[in-house]
């Protein structure tokens, strides 16, 4: 097992280097001259040259890359063009919001998706099953931003039950959860739909197998048969979807934070793109991508622990 973990860690290195190159190239490959874009259309040639020298854009690409990486490894992601604030400090201040949002969404998606998926499988072809499958198709086809706006219309405009935007300072208090519930439900809706479909098909596949028939024949209750015997084996494909999706929730957070005006990394990124604040965009993209890669690594290692059939080679 330790050999497998070492191997996965070593595989991580080229991916992380690749991610850093892509993030670096985002600015290097800007059509025309990045310094001109930064200086704006009214800047003089002298101003453009000054910016170019100040940011080291007149250096060869590899020098710029190594300088950028040296900074990244020290935790220095540069300074925002807009506010002058250190990018790493801005991200650190908002990282908890984005991560909590993704975590809470994953929690909602797993609880909702697995429960609904099991009931759908057990009550196959019932009205409940048909309703769940239809709603899950909607969940997969609907844009995240639209789900968010729909929930705002229902819960904030019509019924006035929940706050419309922002997050509370104390995330895990009652007020914090009240603020978090709509954005998390929005972000988790798509994942819940996928997990429900996967759970349903996994459980359906399992409940027709001989050992389940034997368990039923022994006189065990349906609850015990499903929870103790069927779900255990149905869990691996479900975990695969959950693992892949948790990473994707971080990407989706970009959109949800914009809809609900949450001060997270995603909103910082979108605002940075709008203002052509390249250090901010580079920093936020890098942090989200690295988090995504690390989560995938953790999911892979967890699989290897859970399922002895997964090959370590």
């Amino acid at each position: 097992m330790s050999g497998y973990i070492m191997k996965r860690l070593l595989q991580l290195i080229p991916v992380l280097i690749g991610v850093s190159i892509v993030v670096f190239l985002m600015v290097y490959l800007i059509p025309g001259n990045a310094a001109e874009v930064i200086a704006g259309p009214t800047a003089t040639a002298e101003e453009v040259a000054n910016i170019s020298t100040k940011l080291g854009l007149d250096q060869p690409a590899y020098v710029q890359y190594f300088r950028y990486m040296a900074g990244v490894l020290r935790g220095d992601l540069g300074y925002s063009f807009q506010t002058g604030q250190a990018v790493s400090a801005a991200i650190a201040a908002r990282y908890a919001n984005t991560f909590s949002l993704a975590l809470f969404s994953a929690l909602i998606a797993v609880i909702l998706g697995v429960t609904v998926g099991i009931i759908s499988a057990v009550k196959q072809n019932s009205w409940f099953d048909h309703a769940v499958m239809s709603i899950s198709i909607l969940g997969i086809s609907a844009p995240t931003f639209w789900i968010g706006l729909l929930l705002i219309i229902i819960f904030c405009v019509d019924f006035k039950l929940l706050p419309i935007s922002g997050l509370s300072d104390r995330l895990w208090s009652l007020d914090g959860i009240k603020h978090l519930i709509l954005p998390a439900a929005t972000l988790g809706f798509n994942s819940a739909a996928m997990i429900a479909r996967m759970t349903r098909s996994s459980v359906l596949e399992i409940i027709h197998q001989d050992y389940i028939v034997t368990a039923k024949a022994k006189g065990l209750s349906q609850f015990v048969v499903i929870m103790k015997h069927a779900l255990k084996n149905a869990l691996i494909p479900i975990l695969t979807v959950v693992g892949i999706d948790f990473g994707n929730l971080l990407g989706g957070a970009v959109v949800v934070e914009s809809v609900f005006a949450i001060n997270g990394i995603g909103r910082l990124m979108v605002q940075g793109i709008g203002a052509r604040d390249f250090p901010m965009v580079q920093g936020t993209v890098l942090v989200v991508a690295v988090t995504f890669v690390l989560i995938n690594l953790m999911v892979d290692i967890i699989y290897a622990y859970i399922d002895p059939r997964i090959s370590y080679n």
Binding site: L138, P143, S258, F292
Partner: protein
């Protein structure tokens, strides 16, 4: 078992009249000559796929004949008719904040969505197919190309597209490029997987034995046999691309106002979410319908053409 089947066919054939035999032969020849008829035969058994095909056909029809079908000019403003609700006289789906007819804007929006979808998937296919073919056929290139693919897949959700748009700048053309590049790694993976299974087949070995060049083998022998996988994946990718482009436009990075793009329309509509929720809800419904259409059609094509792809994807 095959001998038994063959035997029963012979007995059945002996029972047939001459006219019936000719009819059967004609049908066989027709189905061999017309793969589309064969595909339709498989596809029509899947109700959801037929609904998907009908939706896609209808949306393409609406997009092509938008000037004829739209009751008004989608850009014509009338401040005396601002924010009319659905069912208003002369404006069946109401009007927006500038008094523009919502139905006409939604009809014209289909054009933009399909344009973005087809162009970005086309771009993704152009690069993804070539990279997938090369990776699958040449083991030496495989590790390099697949590492690049891994790096591109290290950016969750729309993050890679966001990074590209941030470098290129907002606009519908840049969104097409960004979403297209985002499709490249996944398309390359699907094609590579298909090539790996095809290249060991006898007819490829035979082509090598008679001295055909690698490019002939790749493009004349292998590529035609990858078409079904590519077709299935491209259809599903159209749904994802349309969804992603709408999301980018919603974030203000894609189509810019006054463009009748569904994501951008939902984005401006959210400023009037209290007075006129239809400005947000209707473009969302339009996106759901088209994404559902392509997803269902893609699912049906997969089951009809290449059921094994279900596991690969």
């Amino acid at each position: 078992m095959p001998i038994l089947i063959q035997g029963s066919r012979i007995i059945e054939a002996m029972r047939m009249t001459e006219t019936e035999k000719i009819m059967v032969q004609k049908e066989e020849v027709h189905s061999r000559k017309n793969p589309l008829a064969d595909l339709w035969k498989h596809l029509r058994r899947n109700k959801l796929a037929v609904v998907g095909l009908a939706v896609v056909t209808a949306v393409i029809f609406i997009a092509l004949f938008a000037p004829v079908l739209a009751p008004c000019d989608p850009y014509k403003q009338d401040v005396t008719k601002r924010l009319l609700g659905p069912g208003s006289p002369g404006h069946i789906l109401g009007t927006d904040e500038y008094g523009r007819d919502m139905l006409s804007r939604l009809i014209y929006g289909a054009r933009l969505s399909l344009l973005v979808g087809f162009c970005s998937v086309g771009l993704g296919l152009a690069f993804g197919v070539v990279l997938g073919l090369l990776a699958g056929y040449y083991p030496r290139l495989d590790s390099i190309i697949m590492r690049i693919v891994d790096i591109m897949l290290a950016f969750p959700g729309v993050l890679l597209s966001l990074a590209i748009v941030s470098a290129l700048g907002p606009g519908i053309g840049n969104v097409i490029i960004a979403v297209g590049i985002w499709s490249v790694p996944t398309i390359a993976r699907v094609v590579r997987g298909t090539v790996l299974s095809i290249k060991e087949m006898d007819y490829v070995t035979a082509a090598k034995a008679i001295g055909e060049t690698d490019s002939t083998i790749l493009f004349r022998e292998i590529l035609p046999n990858c078409v079904s996988s590519i077709m299935v994946y491209a259809t599903m990718r159209l749904a994802t691309s349309i969804l992603s482009a709408a999301t980018l436009s919603f974030l203000g990075l894609g189509a810019q106002p006054p463009s009748a793009e569904w994501g951008a329309m939902a984005s401006t509509g959210r400023n009037y979410i209290f007075q006129a929720p239809h400005l947000t809800l209707l473009p969302g419904f339009a996106i759901i319908i088209i994404v559902f259409g392509f997803n269902s059609l893609g699912d049906g094509l997969r089951d009809a053409l290449d059921p094994n792809l279900k596991n690969a994807m």
